[in-house]
């Protein structure tokens, strides 16, 4: 039995990727299992926890609920593509310095949701931040310092 396959081409963390995928493969499995980018976490597989959030054309989406084939021709950024080499992105830096991160399993998703928000709205208010992070479940931080860290990052990114 010959497997049905599809050739796709997309930008991943700034680099062109050409790969043959099974049409039923999820973007999450493509990233984790095929491309070995394990920073995108598998939490619930039903779009409820946000641990697998990536940016697709700058928007925050759940990699567990998108087919790999659907990113053909698009731009994907994962947590591995956020920092500038060893230099942390302001969102990451604020989360580290402000003590937002505990077990860290939700952190990749938090960073990706916050990144998409600040790309779209650099002057995001606390309410905007809460709305952007509402799909990202955390189990231990209480969210307070995550929200405050994104507020701080927004200021840094605006040069304040």
């Amino acid at each position: 039995m010959k497997e049905n396959t599809r050739d796709i081409k997309f930008t991943l963390n700034g680099k062109e990727v050409e790969i043959t995928v099974n049409p039923k493969m999820l973007l999450l499995d493509l990233l984790r299992e095929e491309l070995k980018l394990t920073g995108t976490r598998t939490g619930c597989e039903v779009s409820a926890c946000g641990a697998c959030t990536v940016n697709l054309d700058g928007k925050a989406v759940r990699a567990c609920s998108i087919l790999a084939a659907q990113v053909n021709g698009h731009e994907v950024v994962t947590i591995e593509g956020v920092a500038d080499g060893e230099k942390l992105h302001p969102i990451q830096e604020a989360m580290v310095n402000h003590g937002a991160i505990e077990c860290g399993f939700c952190t990749s998703g938090m960073v990706m949701s916050a990144r998409a928000l600040l790309l779209e709205n650099p002057r995001a208010t606390r309410e905007d931040i809460k709305r952007a992070l509402q799909g990202n479940m955390c189990a231990d931080s209480g969210y307070v310092k995550y929200v405050e860290a994104v507020e701080m990052a927004a200021k840094v990114m605006q040069g304040k």
Partner: protein, 780 residues
């Protein structure tokens, strides 16, 4: 706070956590992120009955499926059973004779990929004889009820009956006596990372990478399960995505199955549970029925307390004997109670297993007592903050000790100050004069106060050991057997070593636990890590420091006693201008004579006196090393038309953790514990069960706390410097896991006058309670 900031160079300051840069960039490796060449994927086959005898298992069809490399069933484990203690060893890795809860594992498959493993599970043909089942602990206790375990009459897993003082006389002498029944829901652990394991055999040694917060528990269990000496069991710890005392603290079908499949196939085997498997089959918080009777004087002082608690233990014992001790034994904190009696049972049912969870045990009775206290305070016309202050245990003077009536030893207690501080931050006195109710929205505020043990001491191994190795380039490795599951203990250990050695955080490194190279350690539970591993690390660093001082003394031609280290300089105390740089001293120490390795060793001694399990039957004695305390106040908004309750940002919290080694970590821990594991059950979360089946095993139907309703508490640290913790520390966040629920439920009571006695306070429950209240008022 000012004092604590200046007392130390590193401790007491909010230095960033050591591992978070790796977590922020996605580089942190959790168990599911590991893979090996030749690796197979495993999957557990599960039973579709809550209670059934296994008649036969036919794996032949599955074996013929191309890509299947191995299958194991329960009998392949040779009758091995495990449990917390010898008398509770009632569970097999995979069911053998019968299944006792829905979706219990009966077989496991290893195949070349996940899809084939799953398909093979479907091809395993298991014949069952369905048995009558029991799901309600009160039904299960009746004579003639179906037995979950044939050797446990009336399905009683454990029962205790304790008596301290004279409760009957206390009630007879009381001005007010009240009895209420409170009920806590079945709650998930709520961690986002599902359990995962990668197992392989190499050089006759079992290798295991798994998401386990107490790796040495598994080290011992695996040794027994696979008949291996402990030096051939290597449990390697990845980064852990939270634990809270559940499946990641103990074994489950995936752990044993992956190991045996790896042995059978000669290849590495990886099993990752789906969140569905976690939420249907893994360990959850006990549901409890807490009947309490409390007596008060006219001034609101507690005269006596009686608790009658029944818990649903589920299909296997796990930690339930400890749970029932903690649930009742801690009723005597944080208020003074001289007369106390308990009757309590934990009951086997055909529901999924219950086990320890953050705020273990105490969370249930704290909800009941702190909410009943508000009902009674209202009857007496006493303010909720005031009645707590009147009853709170006073902070013993230095050198003095307060013993509860059941002999819990309290050397420091900041609960009064926690209540005062949170009331001050919240502006409690002003709140009720100025609060505005608008339209259908009613606002209210409630308070909860609690204590929790730190440095849990159970039977067997309790102490912790540490190594501090000073390398020839001046860098330092800290190694303990203790586990950071997200609480920040790795940072605390590095900070302690840096403080003692007079060096910076960047000079210190800590690695994950590897049972082949670290000292055995009980694990991450009972808020024991910083107390024990902290003491061990402090002593190990002091040992290393002494070796360095002696090397420096030789170089400087003076006595080691005359030297001190600060800011990476070894200097003469009497003349700080005479010093050697850190690196020079390290080199002198390492290269002296033919070469030397500077290794400091330390062992915690506080946990060496174990708590006798006999004392569980009397309830007398102390399982803690010391006790942390907390209070919190929350505001809620109740929509009186829909019954929807939400927390507002307006809230306050004060925590007495003795001395916060890292204030930011303490704050995040306390706020998180309160919201995710306590307010969650107060407002949102409950597994809905139907004949043993979990109806809502996903995070769409099972509601968990999210950011948009998160309280943003103003926070106060209460410093009590406990003599039994290293640098004065005690637990943080398990106390606030006990204060969140009563604070929110009491806030609803304050807002609309209905007390929700069976959490969570879902819109339907609140709406019905409001309707009943309106109808009762009409009748008057």
């Amino acid at each position: 706070m000012e004092d604590m900031k200046n007392k130390f160079a590193v401790l007491g300051k909010s230095v960033p956590r050591v591992e978070t840069p790796f977590k922020a960039t996605g580089r942190a490796k959790y168990a599911a992120d590991y893979e090996m060449a030749g690796m197979l994927w495993g999957k557990v086959k599960r039973a579709p009955y809550a209670h059934a005898r296994i008649l036969s298992i036919d794996t032949s069809k599955a074996e013929r499926l191309p890509g299947v490399k191995g299958i194991v069933v329960g009998k392949d484990f040779g009758g091995f059973k495990w449990g917390w203690q010898a008398h509770t060893r009632d569970e097999s890795p995979l069911a053998t004779d019968k299944v006792r809860y829905m979706y219990e594992g009966v077989a496991a498959v290893a195949a070349v990929n996940k899809d084939i493993a799953e398909e093979a599970c479907d091809l395993i043909d298991v014949q069952y004889e369905e048995l009558p089942a029991v799901f309600d602990p009160f039904e299960a206790m009746k004579e003639g009820a179906p037995l979950v375990h044939e050797d446990k009459p009336r399905n009683i897993l454990v029962e205790y009956h304790w008596n301290f003082g004279d409760v009957d006389k206390a009630f007879a002498d009381s001005y007010l006596v009240r009895e209420d029944l409170f009920q806590t829901p079945r709650q998930s652990k709520g961690y986002i990372e599902p359990p995962a394991v990668l197992a392989w055999w190499e050089h006759g040694t079992l290798h295991y990478i798994g998401s386990k917060g107490s790796p040495y528990m598994l080290w011992r269990i695996f040794g027994r399960a696979f008949n291996l000496p402990l030096n051939k069991v290597r449990v390697i710890q990845p980064i852990i995505g939270c634990d809270f005392g559940g499946t990641k603290n103990d074994g489950h079908a995936l752990d044993f199955s992956a190991i045996l499949l790896a042995k059978k196939t000669g290849r590495p085997v990886k099993i990752v549970y789906s969140q569905w498997e976690e939420l249907t089959t893994c360990l959850r918080r006990h549901a409890m029925w807490v009947r309490i009777k409390m007596g008060l004087t006219k001034d609101g002082l507690i005269t006596g307390l009686y608790t009658n608690v029944v818990a649903d233990g589920g299909a296997y014992a796990r930690m339930s004997p400890v749970t029932m001790y903690l649930t009742n034994g801690f009723c005597t904190l944080p208020y003074k109670i001289d007369n106390f009696r308990t009757d309590t049972w934990n009951i086997y049912t055909n529901n999924p297993m219950a086990a320890a969870m953050r705020g273990h045990g105490m969370y249930h009775t704290r909800y009941a007592i702190d909410c009943q206290l508000d009902l009674m305070a209202k009857e007496l016309g006493i303010d909720p903050v005031e009645i707590r202050l009147r009853n709170s245990i006073d902070n013993p003077k230095p050198g003095e000790t307060y013993y509860t009536v059941n002999k819990l030893r309290v050397a420091t207690c900041g609960v009064k100050e926690c209540i005062e501080e949170s009331a001050k931050l919240f502006e409690w006195d002003k709140y009720h004069k100025t609060k505005k109710n608008g339209g259908p929205i009613a606002r209210g505020a409630g308070i909860g106060a609690s204590g929790y043990l730190s440095g849990a001491r159970l039977t067997g191994h309790n102490s912790c050991s540490a190594i501090v190795r000073v390398n020839e380039d001046g860098s330092v490795n800290v190694q303990t057997g203790a586990s950071d599951v997200g609480q920040g203990s790795d940072t605390a250990m590095c900070a302690i070593a840096a403080e003692v050695l007079g060096i910076g955080m960047k000079d210190v490194e800590i690695k994950r636990v590897d049972t082949s190279y670290n000292y055995p350690d009980p694990g991450s539970y009972g808020s024991r890590v910083t107390i024990y591993a902290g003491e061990a690390t402090m002593k190990a660093a002091e040992d290393a420091k002494q070796q360095l001082l002696e090397a420096a003394a030789k170089e400087m031609n003076i006595f080691a006693e005359e030297l001190e280290i600060r800011d990476k300089k070894v200097f003469m105390k009497a003349d700080e201008a005479r010093f050697l740089p850190w690196l020079d001293v390290v080199r002198a120490a390492c290269y002296a004579n033919i070469g030397n390795v500077v290794i400091g060793r330390g062992v915690s001694r506080k946990g060496t006196k174990g708590f006798s399990p006999k004392a569980f039957s009397t309830g007398e004695g102390d399982v803690g090393t010391n006790y942390g305390f907390a209070a919190q106040i929350n505001e809620v908004e109740v929509d009186t038309e829909t019954g929807v309750v939400r927390c507002t940002e307006n809230s306050a919290m004060a925590d007495d953790c003795g001395f916060p080694l890292n204030p930011t970590i303490v704050e995040t821990q306390c706020i998180g514990g309160s919201y995710h594991q306590s307010i969650s059950s107060a407002l949102y979360e409950e597994f809905v069960m139907d004949k043993g089946s979990t109806v809502n095993p996903n995070w769409i139907d099972l509601k968990r706390p999210r950011v948009y309703e998160a309280p943003f508490p103003k926070f106060a640290h209460v410093i009590t410097n406990d003599p039994y913790g290293p640098f004065g520390v005690k637990e943080c966040s398990e106390a606030t896991t006990c204060t969140g629920a009563p604070a929110v439920i009491n806030a609803i009571y304050d807002a609309v006058g209905v007390m929700i006695k069976n959490m969570p306070a879902t819109p339907e429950k609140v709406w019905r309670a409001l309707k009943e209240k309106r109808e009762a008022e009409k009748k008057k």
